[in-house]
């Protein structure tokens, strides 16, 4: 026989806030990537301005977790969910920051849009959009099938980033005049790679909620 717990409404509130956080960060990434692709500085500014909202939500989620820990002493799946909500929130906030960091680096690329395109940045951007749509799916549904998709697309993004980095180094060696802009692209690519890593972290956190299994660093532990 299941009974309703006062605690359930708090958990539901937390769950809704985490989903809201993930949707907003997803939108930030997409806007940032669109701004990069279209060289849309207005959109880039919107991304930068919206970061405050993400940060406010980040603090709200932290406080709600703190309150639930203090007042409800969660155990078992409830405990795993709240622990994971804290970590996912932290990861999402970092991804939000990276969306902003990408947006801030768009303006110096004005005269080098062709170079950006030739390096394959657009393809990796598209992969990141797909990857993060799965992150949003897994946060909403806790369906672990999405985790496999996340790991798969994350690997593609990381590979793409390595490839771009190689090409940039070649460009820099051949044309000294592109060093400044190439360094900028290199930083953007590094942010892409970080977003892929945070996506993996989120998938691992959801696996912990559902299975109780700690899958992070598994290769290192085993």
């Amino acid at each position: 026989m299941e009974t309703y717990r006062i605690f359930d409404s708090e958990l539901e509130k937390l769950s809704q806030k985490v989903i809201q956080m993930c949707s907003q960060v997803n939108q930030q990434i997409n806007n940032s990537l669109t701004a990069l692709k279209d060289y849309d500085l207005n959109l880039a500014k919107k991304v930068i301005d919206k970061d405050k909202e993400i940060n406010t939500l980040d603090v709200k989620i932290d406080r709600l977790c703190q309150k639930i820990f203090a007042l409800q002493q969660p155990v078992a799946r409830d405990l795993r969910y709240i622990l994971s909500a804290l970590k996912i929130n932290n990861d999402l906030e970092r991804v939000g920051d990276h969306a902003v960091n990408i947006a801030k680096r768009i303006s110096p690329l004005e005269d080098y849009r062709q170079l950006v395109s030739e390096l394959g940045v657009d393809q990796v951007s598209t992969e990141i959009s797909v990857l993060f749509s799965y992150v949003l799916d897994v946060v909403k549904t806790h369906d672990l099938e999405y985790c496999q998709k996340i790991y798969h697309h994350s690997a593609i993004v990381k590979e793409g980033c390595l490839d771009i980095a190689d090409r940039i180094l070649n460009e820099m060696m051949e044309k000294s005049e592109v060093v400044v802009v190439a360094s900028n692209i290199l930083i953007i690519v590094n942010l892409f790679e970080r977003i892929a890593s945070y996506s993996n972290n989120i998938a691992e956190s959801i696996t912990f909620v559902v299975d109780g299994e700690i899958v992070k660093h598994r290769k290192n532990i085993e």
Binding site: V75, A76, L79
Partner: protein, 252 residues
């Protein structure tokens, strides 16, 4: 290797025609704290009381299966129940000191077990009170009535009285449920210390208490042992849905 202190195998208990414990098989290790949790009427206290044959005092109780302590079936015909209860002491929910002095409460057990020498009794009383973490609070008033102690002190005195006959196992039936948080915390701290010398089995309705002090937790429901595992496992990732639902407050 951890020694198995209590071992039950296919144990059934009936109160008249009512089945109260259904096929309980469990191995409880020595010098650990094992907590029994479960909703009211699930059989956890009945099972606890079976471990020193306290149920013998209730009419209509029928027990089948094996209950072994150190490999000996405690329901065998040749078992002396008084000796068994000396070895397997018990502390109850409500502190129940005798209306005697603090000293006499603790000396009572050893005295009826034949200790007459005053010096030896003094030593036993002091050791038991020290082991029950109440010595410093009562050492200057051992002749005062035990009834003048606070609830938490009375409960620790009862623990000292249990320890004075040198048991190997201490059964505790909700020993802190009637106490304020400070006294509860003293009892909990004491239980954790006691496991160095004794095997402790505790029934508690306070889930957080089970989580804080026990090494192993057994979840009982409707007379059955649903899950028995390390406390850390039970409270972070239990195997059974019923356990999960109970400890998270979804039913019970």
């Amino acid at each position: 290797m951890i020694h198995e202190k209590i071992h039950t195998e296919n144990m059934f208990l009936h109160y008249g025609s009512k089945l109260a414990l259904n096929d309980i098989s469990i191995q409880i290790p020595e010098k650990k704290v094992t907590a029994f949790i479960g909703p009211s009427g699930c059989g956890k206290s009945t099972f606890l009381r079976s471990l020193n044959r306290m149920n013998d005092l209730i009419d209509g109780v029928k027990i089948e299966g094996k209950i072994l302590i150190d490999g000996i079936n405690i329901y065998d015909n040749n078992i002396d129940v008084v000796t068994l209860r000396k070895k397997v002491g018990m502390v109850f929910q409500k502190s129940n000191p005798f209306a005697k002095s603090i000293y006499e409460n603790v000396a009572y057990g050893p005295r009826i077990n034949g200790v007459k020498d005053k010096k030896q009794l003094d030593e036993i009383v002091e050791t038991a009170l020290q082991n029950a973490a109440i010595w410093t609070e009562v050492k200057d008033r051992l002749g005062d009535s035990a009834m003048g102690l606070s609830g938490g002190q009375q409960q620790r005195l009862c623990i000292a009285r249990t320890l004075a006959v040198n048991p190997e196992i201490v059964l505790m039936d909700e020993p802190a449920s009637a106490l304020d948080p400070l006294s509860t915390s003293k009892i909990e701290e004491l239980i954790v210390q006691l496991k160095e010398k004794y095997t402790i089995v505790i029934v508690t309705h306070n889930m957080q208490q089970a989580a804080r002090i026990s090494d192993l937790t057994a979840f009982f429901y409707l007379g059955e042992l649903i899950e028995f595992d390390k406390t850390k496992k039970i409270f972070t990732n239990p195997d059974k849905k019923q356990t999960e639902d109970y400890i998270t407050g979804r039913f019970g």
